[in-house]
């Protein structure tokens, strides 16, 4: 009976150790993940959707520099791809595209 209680107590001790290990590992892992995620940004804000240049590659700014265009709409989505789209007022107007990467 005493032996069984000792085994149970030993198991309880192991549970407490396991819980502390999990908690500490989670906190250390959390700090490490912040650091690694920061590094993944390559020293820039590239990995964050909060940046204008996305992690998925170079942002491309495409300007439809159409003669006669009077309505330019700029959108910047979460993926960091900046796009400027000009809606031409005349479909037959000559088009010149400027791409800035």
């Amino acid at each position: 009976m005493a032996g069984k209680e000792t085994r149970i107590e030993a198991a309880r001790r192991r549970v407490r150790t396991a819980r502390w290990t999990i908690a500490i590992a989670a906190l250390v892992g959390f700090g490490g993940a912040v650091g690694l995620a920061q590094q993944a940004g390559g020293g820039s804000t590239a990995a964050s959707p909060s940046s204008s240049a996305g992690a998925e590659g170079d942002a491309t700014l495409v300007v439809d520099d159409t003669a006669g265009a009077d309505d330019v709409e700029v959108s910047d989505d979460f993926f960091g791809e900046a796009q400027a789209t000009a809606a031409a007022s005349s479909a037959s107007a000559p088009t010149a595209r400027t791409s800035v990467s």
């Binding site: 085994r7 149970i8 030993a10 198991a11 309880r12 192991r14 549970v15 396991a18 819980r19 999990i22 908690a23 989670a26 892992g29 959390f30 700090g31 993940a33 912040v34 690694l36 995620a37 920061q38 993944a40 940004g41 020293g43 820039s44 804000t45 990995a47 964050s48 959707p49 909060s50 940046s51 992690a55 989505d77 979460f78």
Partner: protein, 190 residues
Amino acid sequence: MTVLADNLVWLTARAGGIVALALLTACVLAGVVLAGRARLERWPRFAVESVHRFAGTAAWAFIGIHVVVLLFDEFAPFSVADLLVPGHSGYRTVATAAGIVALELLTALAIANRLKTRLPYRLWRRTHYLNFAVWALAIGHGIAAGTDSGTAWATALYGACAASVAGAVAWRALAARERRSPTAAQPAGR
């Protein structure tokens, strides 16, 4: 330092999600050990169950960090609806929806756990298997929505999580088959 400060919200959210996945994996592994009725000399059932619960609770804490912190991202603001309604967010819509469905399913399963004593055991056990779906959705969400997925460390982490759960499930299936086999039920010489 400026980079860290600028992205602290996003980095915290990502780190929270990554740690939550690791803890969810630990929880699933302990659950598989319990379900497989493994006889571990130094780890009686109550001990494994306690670790299983603790890992689940810790996973909840980091899921909370992951979700709540996103509400404070100034550049890519997630509304409450974005974080609760699958398909509502414009950010990697399908991947984000997978995470939301996983969270809501996990919440439903947590409620079922609280009601375990009031539910028929077979029903509870069957619903509990949905935790595998939660884990699968969570890892899919991490891979598809995470902006670190292409890095070596993230690939290693996702690979380790997937391999450990796959291995545990395979062990569980083999253990169940052995228990069902006639030779296991009637050992030779008896």
